[in-house]
């Protein structure tokens, strides 16, 4: 059976699809890998899940959160200590972002110390490598829902 699809398909409601009327969230996306970052950002925009600001390093993210408010953060833990410091600054109200914004992270591995850190920082999602773009989009959809309903854990 052959099916022809439009190049920019209109996305049918998926289990984690946003409500059509809800605006996309302002998302700070920190991911060093170009293809993953660009694909996630493009599809999140197409699906109106998020309006991502893409950066490759925590240092760039530090600079941005000092001057701009975001609805959610999605961070790679490749620079683990810097990423933990950034999240601490957010939670302590030392950035332009609301202290309670939802945060998700990706990591190559997660031992007990890191898991405790992340729990303490109220990280909503941890995605371990290797992962799929689809999994990241699912997490962003959960962040979006959490940003809209801050009292509910993801």
């Amino acid at each position: 059976m052959a099916v022809i699809h439009a190049p920019q398909p209109s996305i049918a409601p998926a289990p984690f699809a946003p409500r059509p009327a809800a605006p996309p969230i302002k998302l700070l996306l920190v991911e060093p890998q170009f293809l993953l970052r660009r694909t996630v950002a493009a599809v999140a925009r197409d699906m109106r899940l998020a309006d991502p600001k893409e950066v490759t390093t925590i240092e760039q993210a530090e600079s941005l959160v000092s001057f701009h408010a975001y609805d959610a953060l999605f961070l790679s833990m490749d620079e683990e200590s810097a990423a933990l410091e950034l999240m601490s600054r957010v939670r302590n109200g030392n950035t332009k972002c609301a202290p309670a914004i939802p945060i998700a992270v990706t990591a190559a591995a997660c031992g007990t110390p890191l898991a405790l850190h992340l729990k303490h920082l109220e990280v909503r999602r941890l995605i371990l490598r290797p992962f799929k773009v689809k999994g990241v989009l699912d997490a962003i959809a959960a962040l979006r829902q959490s940003a809209a309903e801050p009292d509910k854990a993801v």
């Binding site: 059976m1 052959a2 022809i4 439009a6 190049p7 398909p9 996305i11 998926a14 694909t39 290797p130």
Partner: protein
């Protein structure tokens, strides 16, 4: 002929090409499948109305028969990993052949245009998905289905240049029937746009 990740690129065309004539004369079968007992009824890839203009645009890019490049290789690797596809390619549709600028899971570097799935895919700008080639009149007895690489599923996203010419596809093949949902299609389309960006940036650089 296929089934292994390419360890070397740039194999001479005369040695690696899959041709309709050769394949039809020597049909190969998988275990439990029946060899052809009558003339094939597959539908050959159509020639688009403005094929000369399309070919001119492709040749002016000076990309045909160039060595592999990491910027394309990494996109097909990414697509293969993301969708768990054994075969993924950036294919460029020349006058008589399909030539692969990047490929994963296939060790031929070109096939006859006439038998190619991508030859069908470039007929329109939309993504072409063949969920099960055995149940598609265009492909059910195609040599690429009845023989190596034993394609059952195909998805091809046409690569359309800013001038409108479709010069090839980003495509994926599986050996079993598959489907893609809307999220998959959005991801695949995004990867296609990255391939087009790389092609266009090369064009500007030349």
């Amino acid at each position: 002929m296929v089934d292994a990740a390419p360890k070397q690129h740039g194999i001479a065309h005369t040695r690696c090409a899959v041709s309709l004539k050769k394949t039809r004369q020597q049909p190969k079968t998988r275990q439990g499948e029946t060899a052809w007992t009558c003339a094939p009824t597959m539908i050959s890839a159509p020639i688009p109305p403005a094929d000369e203009r399309r070919l001119q645009a492709l040749r002016e890019m000076l990309i045909l028969d160039t060595p592999p490049e990491e910027r394309f290789d990494r996109i097909v690797r990414f697509a293969s990993d993301e969708f768990d596809m054994p075969i993924a390619m950036v294919s460029l549709v020349d006058a008589k052949r399909l030539w692969f600028k990047a490929r994963v899971g296939l060790d031929v570097c070109e096939v006859d245009r006439e038998i190619s799935f991508c030859g069908h895919a470039i007929a329109q700008p939309q993504i072409l998905v063949v969920e099960d080639a055995l149940h598609d009149e265009r492909f059910h007895d195609n040599p690429l289905v009845t023989g190596a690489p034993h394609a059952r599923f195909y998805a091809g996203a046409p690569l359309q240049l800013p001038g409108g010419e479709i010069i090839g596809t980003l495509c994926m093949i599986d050996r079993q029937p598959r489907t893609l949902d809307d999220i998959d299609l959005a991801i695949f389309s995004s990867l296609r746009e990255l391939v087009v960006s790389e092609l266009v940036s090369q064009e500007v650089a030349v």
